[in-house]
Amino acid sequence: MIFFLLLLVLVTIAQIGEFFIPPLAWLYNTHIYLVPLIVFYAAVALPVPLMLAVALYAGILLDALTVQVIGNKVEISLGWSILLYAVLAGLMHGLRPLFVRGRWEIHAVLSGICTSVILLAQYLMITFRRGSIIFSPEVWWQIGGPGLIAMLMAPVVFWLLHWIAYVTGFGYLSERSRFE
């Protein structure tokens, strides 16, 4: 439970931290996202109810702090990010046995892909609202770039979270023997 609460605190810190991380101008203004990595780690580390709680919390924060309300229109309704996080986290959770056995690299790659999927879904939603589909190289970079960066950061973030889980005595680490 302590680990779960710590993950919620880390999601909050990461979401606030993202405000202060400047986009990478040399990579088509690519943003760096930390929250998806924590959510996807939670997906493989936590049981389903707690995983859903993390997805819910992270989704609410993301929507509350980024979605724009212009006049009487909301571009992406509050709640869509919750759904996206929950579905993608659910997929990751399905591969949990591999992670518990120590095969973290698949989840690191998947975290990057899922980060890009969130951005792609957001882009499709705003494109649907605003009209005129634009898919320039810049768009692809702004969707794929954060995913690539997330993939590169995943081993470090996963290692840190793994260490926190170990320090707090979180139970999933002991499940390894069950799978082996």
Binding site: F19, V74, W141
Partner: protein
Amino acid sequence: MSRTNFIALLIFGVILGYFLSFGAESTRKFQAGIYQLIAPFLSSGSGLQKQITSVRTGLKTLEQLERESAQLRVENRELRATNQALRDVEREVNSLRHQLNYRERSVFKLVPAVVVTRDSSTWWHTVTVNRGREDGIEGDMAVVTDEGLVGKTTTVASSISVVLLVSDENCKVAATVEGTREQGIVSGERVTSGLTPSLYLNFLSKQADLKPGQKVYTSGVGGVFPSGLPVGVVKSFRVRELDGQAQLTPAVDLSHLEDVFIVTGRK
């Protein structure tokens, strides 16, 4: 599926449904609440970031600071004098307009604000500023600098507000072109590749034939942005199938915003 998971999914579905049912007003209120909760962290984070940046850019010597201070004092005196002179002119103009039965032209009431954070998302161009409802800020108020238009306020919490930048595709500004009768709507790009975004002035006539360097100002149509605020400078002009479109360089450097003013009304 275990019973616990089923119940968790059910509760999750209910909460998700509740959030998805939010309308524009409830979303705005909810966002304002969350922004207010994290406002202290954003402010302290911004302060910390500024301190780090100032250390990184290098400490100044006492001599440099004295020189800078003297320069600023002179500039301040000049500005005060100009301001006084302009106030006299304003009074005179208003008195003449009054005699001619024209409506008096008044200057804006401005609330100074500091940019706390820049946009954290890929698809929306926003900044947050350290002023909110407590300072008389409301939604849809124009935000400017001494160089020109920055954007408008959207979500407003008690002590913090979100400003939608003019470079966002959703920020539409009615504008006119200097020295012509051309009017159009300025909006930003959906995706910016560099740090300096471009603006687009749409719905111009095909015969507009704008030249690079011509200035674009707000026309005041729509009521959100007062007229006469510089929006940008024409970079290029092209004729499309139905209208003319000009590409603009924003009047304000939106990537290095620090201090802005929120137009809260007229004096």
